[in-house]
Symmetry: C2
Subunit: 320 residues, 2 copies
């Protein structure tokens, strides 16, 4: 199948959601923004064997690609609208793979009310390489990383560590005998949940926000650097899923993996103590947990690291 | 160098042109559109060994990537504003390569007054793979492929075939003894010229437009399909550069390469005969040439193919 056939068969049906996509048959998409709205855009690339496992279900690969990008929009408090997809496909890619991939893409376009409006498909002799650009609209306020204040509380959404532990389980490096726990961890790695409603709800409340993709400590470190501040958190207050808690109970050394592993796609954000009541009353489809405080120092301090005997040496993290 | 260092060193300096890029340090870019303007966006991917030669000068690779995308915006009559770049870099990529690549990118950002506002950099075990998303603003009218009318004139900008012949020269498959001609053809392949001023000037005049990336006959065929019409052109009227003309004189069989090869990045467009005078007076930095007429049939007919003994069998072209 040539590229035109491939696009027509697999991707044009997804693009009907947006007339401005011109059926993916023109040179570019023409998008009309709501009056006064700001465009928010992000691009994330994924390579087989690096960001996902080559034999992951194709639909899950598509959904992870979408969700990783939407997580960036969530971290800005933006509402996602449009996607552009660049696919470098190995020459061995077959129809069943493409059908499953595009079905996963379509499912997430529907789930998150976004439209595929353009892209490109090329052949490669290398591994499957995907790049997605997500465009969204921001309101009068968007969330950045750089406006945290000393004394602000630090919060994190959902649970941390499932993605990193799920990768270990999927690779066979971590044995997880409980079938439900095993599935939950792998699902956390393969199909993360972008916190879009939370991000939008935080506009006007949070002082700084970012998504946790490189690992909680590294990403909180990025927020600290951008805000020219430090952070002090307690590891014991970091929320874990039942599956992650069980894994850490079996092997306490995994707590370091939880804190410094990646692929969580939760939000870590800061807000002044005066905002605690508003944040407790927030209904955004996910639990948030206060895990620490912004300080005048530099770097991220885990105050109970010694008590919990956490050995943290990962890149992007400084242990005091 | 890690990704943050790489972005900070090579790409953040380019992003200072747009405050909304947030220094490439945040999750996404926040872009404010001019009131009432429409966002026009496109993504094009390139793979080493497929879309460019792996040993092409890195700066030229960057510039081709930019120009290929801007050519899509030109074909819509849009004004380019912002770029997002996804780079999958072989692990052997070194600093001099990145320096030259980013210098080429910076040069074209300045030349076309566009800002890099985001992107992603990942490692790959495969070939260098690049994906660029270009965002532009369209006015009240944009140019599509689907509104050509029967009896419309067909025009093409600049000269056709330099890209395809330049690739042959660069590969050593075509000998070109004249140094100037040789350089001109290779430059046409490596650093095409997006026809942005022409595209914008054609809004309100042209009925349909697209850029010539897959080859004149194939792309005119796409325009025909989208407009549900046919086209009849004369090969003798297709404009050739001096270098291409000399090559065809040496080997008349190359005329087929000129007409059906790709990488021209000129515009092919249609307009009613009543617009001839306006088009003749158009000043958009490039010569345009009338090469044929839209017909009620299907496909593209080259009326002097037999006289010129052109053997055309390339994909996307139908010879009647």
């Amino acid at each position: 199948m040539d590229e035109f056939g491939l696009i027509s068969k697999y991707f044009a049906p997804i693009a009907v959601r947006e007339p401005g996509a011109l059926g993916l048959r023109d040179d570019a998409a023409v998008l009309t923004l709501s009056d006064g709205a700001r465009l928010v855009c992000t691009t994330d690339a994924m390579v087989a064997g690096v960001h996902f496992l080559a034999d992951d279900p194709p639909g899950d690969i598509a959904r992870k690609l979408v969700r990783v990008n939407l997580s960036d929009l969530a971290a800005m408090g933006a509402r996602p609208r449009w996607l552009l997809l660049a696919l470098a496909l190995p020459r061995t890619t077959d129809d069943p793979w493409l059908a499953a991939f595009s079905a996963g893409l379509a499912a997430d376009c529907a789930a998150f009310d976004v439209a595929l409006v353009g892209g490109d498909t090329v052949a490669t002799d290398g591994p499957l390489t995907l790049s997605l650009t997500a465009l969204g609209e921001g309101g009068a306020q968007v969330l950045t990383r750089s406006e945290a204040q000393g004394g602000d509380d630090i919060y994190v959404s959902g649970t941390i560590g499932d993605g990193a532990l799920g990768l270990l389980v999927a690779q066979g490096k971590l044995v997880c005998k409980d079938e439900n726990a095993r599935n939950a961890l792998i699902a956390g790695y393969r199909v993360p949940q972008p916190r879009l409603a939370l991000g939008q709800a935080l506009c006007g409340i949070a002082t700084a926000c970012q998504d946790v993709s490189d690992g909680l400590l590294a990403d909180l470190g990025h927020l600290c650097t951008a805000s020219d501040l430090g952070a002090r958190i307690t590891a014991a207050s970091v929320p874990l899923s039942d599956a992650a808690r069980a894994a850490v109970r079996m092997d306490p050394a995994l707590l370091a993996t939880v804190l410094s592993g990646g692929d969580d796609y939760e939000l870590v954000f800061t807000a002044p103590p005066a905002a605690r009541e508003r944040l407790e009353g927030l209904e955004a489809g996910v639990v948030i947990r206060r895990i620490g405080v912004m300080t005048q120092g530099g770097g991220v301090e885990v105050s109970d690291a010694d008590i919990l005997r956490i050995s943290l040496e990962n890149k992007g993290f400084q242990h005091f």
